[in-house]
Amino acid sequence: MSMLTATSITKHFGGLTAVKDVSINFEKGSITAVIGPNGAGKTTFFNMITGIYSPDGGEIHLDQKTITGLKPNFIAEKGIARTFQNIRLFKEMSVLENVMVGMHIHLNSGFLGTLFSTPKVRAEEEQARYEAYSLLEYVGLADWVNHQAKNLPYGAQRKLEIARALATHPKVLLLDEPAAGMNPKETTELTDLILQIRDDKQITIILIEHDMKLVMRISEQIYVLDHGQLIAQGVPEEIRNNPNVIEAYLGKSALSV
């Protein structure tokens, strides 16, 4: 069953077409990678799905319902969460608070409830705290609870972004270069974490990644973008041997060798 579908979505920036007529169908509970050279339009594609840009053409459906052109916060409410290529944590806030911000849409404390600190609000806050902590434990950051997010090591910051995204209880999780800047050991841990998230929580995972070892190991489907267009799709084995893909990455000369 399809979870998320993009139907011929397009985005222009001035004269440049960053994404052109791309259609991808993401199956429920699958792990899919979107790859391509730098500037291929991968992040723009993510930004359209998460509502940061609204597409100039085409439709996006989540669970058969359209989410095209909705604002990012509504799309988060509908069940799409993401991480960012250039880590965007709430730097001055504590690690636990970062995850609690992710729970925003599931907390119902109103203005007056907060002001008078009603038992309901207190219970909800306490519950949120435990859930945040359990998510931190899940991604392996249990010892960092009270640290400021900016003081975390790089790899841990990437994990915190994942924990924060999971706190929104997403149906679909978009990971934008989750392994960027990680050492091989951290990348292995991350690979296990992504698989575990899918298995435990039945979340549909889409990732942009340049680390081909990681991509080939965990993706069930791979889509390749180049110059904003979809040039190939298939299982890892097919993509590995696809001449179009090799050309896009290495140039035409690579093929003749």
């Binding site: 992040t43 930004n47 940061i52 840009y53 960012f84 290529q85 250039n86």
Partner: protein, 325 residues
């Protein structure tokens, strides 16, 4: 209608003068914002400092017995703009440069602080020297050029008069704008400036000395701001340390109106705001049947600012900029 039309020539002339002043001050805001994405709150105070420096110089010239004429005006303009230019560079060096990587709020706060410091320093000096912080300076070109009354299509148009100084203000302001436009678009340093405004990191990689370019931007912006201050003092004679604040607000509105970072847009925005303000001051009472008077002219610029921000946040000629995700 008759009433409005009858005063129109005077309104247009006054509006143009004020607009020219706004336009040049707006240039300072727009240049700094273009290059640092910082609202340089102190720029209005630089303008004010220019007015005071010019006035002080003229007093000094009178003291040593120099005649006040063209030559003295040019001398004063040069001195005042050099001095304000140096002040501008100093401000950037001390209060903005250490904060370039700080969260955006922090340099804004520093800018507000600098603006207050300048106001008070000038107030102190003026009060210490003259006993009062409101100063009426020497004006050089006081003679009036009369424009006789005439009638158009049955409407009687009143006679109007311009100080010869008005022509000087407009003339010099236009000259500054033309020279700046050529400088930014045609010279090596102007191109470097635009490059730094577009992408500081890449410009640095291309071998441009970014700090030098930023200093230069502050020097030019502050120098022409200071020169405008001299012109303002010549035109309106009486100045005080707080003139830069509201005027700065309006000039900033002009910069936003023209699309912040856009130099030609700022010139246009300044002229438009000046004309609108003088028109409002002269005719608000007539248009509202006496309910609102000229006191509300300052409210006008502000309403324009809000309207522009709602409907055209990128300004009339600006391009919307998206943050990179």
């Amino acid at each position: 209608m008759q009433e409005i039309l009858s005063t129109l020539p005077q309104v247009l002339l006054d509006g143009l003068t004020l607009g020219a002043i706004y336009a040049v001050v707006a240039l300072g805001y727009t240049m700094v914002y273009g290059i640092l994405e910082l609202i340089n709150f102190a720029h209005g105070e630089i303008f004010m400092a220019g007015a005071f420096i010019g006035t002080a110089l003229l007093f000094g010239f009178v003291d040593i017995g120099l005649a006040l004429n063209w030559v003295t005006l040019v001398l004063v303009l040069i001195f005042a703009s050099l001095l304000t230019g140096v002040i501008g560079v100093g401000i950037e060096r001390v209060a903005y440069r250490p904060l370039r990587t700080a969260p955006k709020l922090i340099p804004l706060i520093s800018a507000v602080g600098i603006s207050f410091i300048l106001q008070d320093v000038v107030r102190f000096v003026a009060e210490y020297k003259t006993g009062n912080y409101i100063v009426t300076g020497q004006t050089i070109f006081e003679n009036k050029i009369a424009i006789p009354a005439f009638s158009v299509g049955g409407y009687e148009v009143h006679a109007s008069a311009i100080k010869s100084n008005t022509l000087i203000v407009i003339g010099i302001a236009v000259l500054i704008m033309i020279v700046l436009d050529i400088f930014v678009n045609r010279t090596k340093w102007g191109i470097a400036m635009r490059a730094v405004a577009q992408d500081r990191a890449t410009a640095a990689l291309m071998g441009i000395n970014v700090n030098k370019v930023i200093s230069l931007t502050f020097f030019i912006g502050s120098a022409i701001g200071g020169a405008t201050g001299v012109l303002y003092a010549q035109q309106y004679a009486t100045i005080n340390p707080f003139i830069g604040f509201i005027l700065g607000l309006k000039a900033f509105t002009a910069a936003v109106l023209g699309g912040i970072g856009n130099i030609r847009g700022a010139m246009f925005g300044g002229l438009l705001i000046g004309l609108l303000e003088v028109f409002a001051a002269a005719n608000l009472g007539i248009l509202t049947g006496g309910a609102l008077g000229a006191e509300y002219k300052d409210v006008f610029a502000f309403i324009i600012l809000i309207l522009v921000l709602i409907f055209k946040p990128a300004g009339l000629f600006g391009q919307a900029v998206k943050e990179k995700v």
